[in-house]
């Protein structure tokens, strides 16, 4: 076998893993706090991308400006989703599956009607760099830098700020944290906002590399789902490890088996892991 293939797999595994990390972080944090998977998380990804696209095409804004607006918009949209459909249903967790799923369908259908099914794309960050002789678009480096930054910021936020600590407290126990004077609903709001920003940023950064369609949100959602389950709910380091396991496995399998079946091989692994270790790699037994 050609040695170049190994290099290729290695390099792209790292890049792909970093995108999974970026997207899963927000999902993981929210999941940890509310103990509820936000199924509308994938729609924030397409939402921010379509906002950037519209701002650039119809208002002629610079990509960076449009991206910043879109990411903030995604944060606010996430906050709105949390307030409008998650909070009222908190008493009946099963209902949250339905309400967030309904939101996801509303987004998908809205963009289907307004934007059509034709895939759109955004401009790439220009230039190509050679890594170990493999040509890599500079956009991938932008993604890598952004994702490391987002990871460090989240870790620092959760560890060293009062708000971040209260998020962890609420994730630990909703009741206990209330006794300590933390308002869990306020914390939930923060978690929704931050996770929206993470989803939005992922959308803005990844759409140039992939085509965007109204259904593009589901793939990342299931990936995030799988990664969070694998890493352990609410564990940031677990998410980091799981993202890389997922990314490496997917890239390697794509090379060995080619296309199709490779994309689900990580899922099969995750199902096996969950069966034998239900709490995930870094999760704890409750």
């Amino acid at each position: 076998m050609d040695i170049d293939i190994y290099k290729y797999i290695l390099i792209f595994s790292i890049f792909h893993s970093s995108t999974y990390l970026m997207f899963s972080l927000g999902f993981s944090m929210l999941f940890g706090v509310a103990k509820i998977p936000n199924l509308a998380y994938g729609s924030l990804y397409i939402f921010s991308s379509y906002v950037v696209y519209s701002l650039m095409t119809y208002l002629g804004l610079e990509q960076v400006v449009a991206a910043l607006i879109a990411v903030s918009a995604a944060g606010l949209m996430s906050l709105l989703i949390g307030e409008a459909v998650v909070r009222p249903a908190l008493k009946m967790p099963v209902s949250i599956f339905i309400t967030t799923l309904a939101v996801a369908y509303i987004f998908e259908e809205f963009f289907r009607i307004e934007m059509g099914l034709k895939p759109i794309t955004l401009p790439l960050y220009p230039g190509v760099t050679y890594v170990l002789g493999v040509p890599v678009s500079n956009h991938w480096f932008l993604v890598l830098v952004a994702s490391s930054l987002m990871f460090s910021l989240l870790v620092a936020f959760l560890k060293y700020t009062v708000l971040g600590r209260s998020i962890r407290a609420v994730a630990e126990s909703w009741e206990e944290s209330r006794r300590l004077g933390i308002n869990p609903l306020k914390v939930l709001r923060v978690a929704f906002f931050v996770s929206g920003i993470y989803a939005g940023a992922t959308g803005v950064l990844l759409t140039p590399l992939k085509a965007l369609t109204p259904t593009a949100g589901w793939g990342p959602l299931f990936t995030a789902f799988a990664i969070v389950a694998l890493g352990g709910v609410g564990s940031v380091s677990g998410t980091l490890i799981a993202s890389f396991v997922y990314g490496f496995l997917e890239q390697t399998m794509t090379y060995i088996l080619g296309g199709g079946i490779a994309s689900i091989s990580p899922l099969i692994l995750i199902i096996l892991v969950l069966v034998f270790r239900p709490q995930g790699i870094m999760g704890r037994v409750e």
Binding site: A89, A102, Y105, E109, G259, G260, I261, V275, P278, Q279
Partner: protein, 337 residues
């Protein structure tokens, strides 16, 4: 379990809504409902079985099984494969596909039955996704039809061909409708019996507090497995019948949006664990959804979803069952006066 004996009058009033709806559904084709709406009703009848399955298992034990669409689609695929590779006519392969699908659902989900809460939900949601991946991926798609699906002669097609051309389609539609109606009625009656039997209360006990249930002598694992078996049997019957009535079986059957979300919605809006509520909600919601198509065209998904969110946000515990009880009380008041 012993309940207070009810008076005959009470009993008659209690059963009135059921027989009214049954009579209505039986007579609909004779009243001129046909074509598109009869097809829709056939589908809704079969979806009732899925709704009841979700309600019987997830609605009582709170183990949210999102893998229902896997069982549904698997039954369809089993039916198609039996027909194509073993030459078993569809009429008979329905009876074989159901046990095969139940068996596989059990084998695949059995290890995860010890996982609780959100993890169980996640795991069960991943299973249909993996199944879709397998069906559409290279080496398997050659045998499983890939995106295009598997084609076969649907139920009664051979017989219908011997009929004069004018009534072929009508015959198929009518026979499918009545098959689905019979399945729905039998399914409903059994679900009602199970839901409020001793076993039904054991399921509820598991849902309330598993350790407590164990401590009062309920074998929770056994209850969960049997509950899951019954539930997947319902879904398999629905899936096999559904697939037998429309020829190419494709991954659409497994996509959660198509075969999980509508019944799950009905179960929640109807009121989890109440059997009657979800059954009513099943007809109301699915028929509303279909009629929105004529009213607002492509905006129907958005409007329907907004409606759904509103209902769930206002009454997360379910709406239909309460309204039903309320109406029944009033009806009783009027009739007993």
């Amino acid at each position: 379990m012993v309940f207070a004996k009810r008076s005959t009058k009470d009993l008659i009033i209690g059963k009135t809504p059921f027989f009214a709806v049954l009579a209505g559904l039986t007579l609909l084709p004779l009243l001129g409902v046909g074509g598109y709406w009869l097809d829709v009703l056939t589908k809704v009848n079969l979806f009732l079985l899925v709704t009841l399955a979700i309600d019987l298992y997830s609605g009582t034990t709170y183990y949210l099984n999102l893998g229902v669409s896997f069982t549904f689609g698997f039954a369809g695929y089993a039916l198609a494969l039996l027909n194509i590779y073993y030459g078993i006519p569809i009429e008979y392969s329905i009876f074989l596909a159901v046990p095969i699908s139940v068996f596989f659902s059990l084998v695949i989900l059995l290890p995860s039955l010890r996982i609780r809460g959100v993890y169980f939900a996640i795991l069960s949601l991943l299973i249909p996704i993996v199944f879709i991946g397998i069906v559409t991926a290279q080496p398997f798609s050659l045998y499983l039809g890939g995106e295009g699906g598997l084609r076969y002669k649907q139920l009664f097609l051979d017989f219908a061909r011997s009929l004069p051309p004018g009534i072929r389609l009508t015959f198929l539609q009518y026979s499918y409708y009545y098959i689905s109606l019979v399945a729905a009625v039998i399914g409903y009656l059994i679900a009602y019996k199970i839901g409020f039997s001793e076993f039904g209360f054991m399921l509820r006990a598991v849902g309330q507090d598993e350790e407590l249930a164990e401590s009062v002598g309920i074998n929770t694992l056994k209850v969960k497995v049997i509950g899951y078996l019954i539930s997947s049997m319902y879904v398999s019957v629905a899936g096999a019948l559904y697939a037998s009535m429309r020829s190419p079986v494709t991954v659409d059957l497994v996509v959660p949006a198509n075969t999980l979300v509508p019944p799950l919605t009905s179960a929640i809006v109807g009121g989890l664990g109440t059997i009657i509520g979800p059954a009513i909600a099943n007809y109301m919601l699915l028929l509303t959804y279909e009629s929105l198509w004529g009213l607002i065209g492509r905006w129907r998904v958005i409007v329907y979803m907004l409606l759904l969110i509103t209902i769930v946000v206002i009454k997360p515990q379910g709406l239909v069952f309460r309204i039903y009880l309320d109406l029944k009380k009033r009806l009783r008041g009027v009739l007993l006066e």
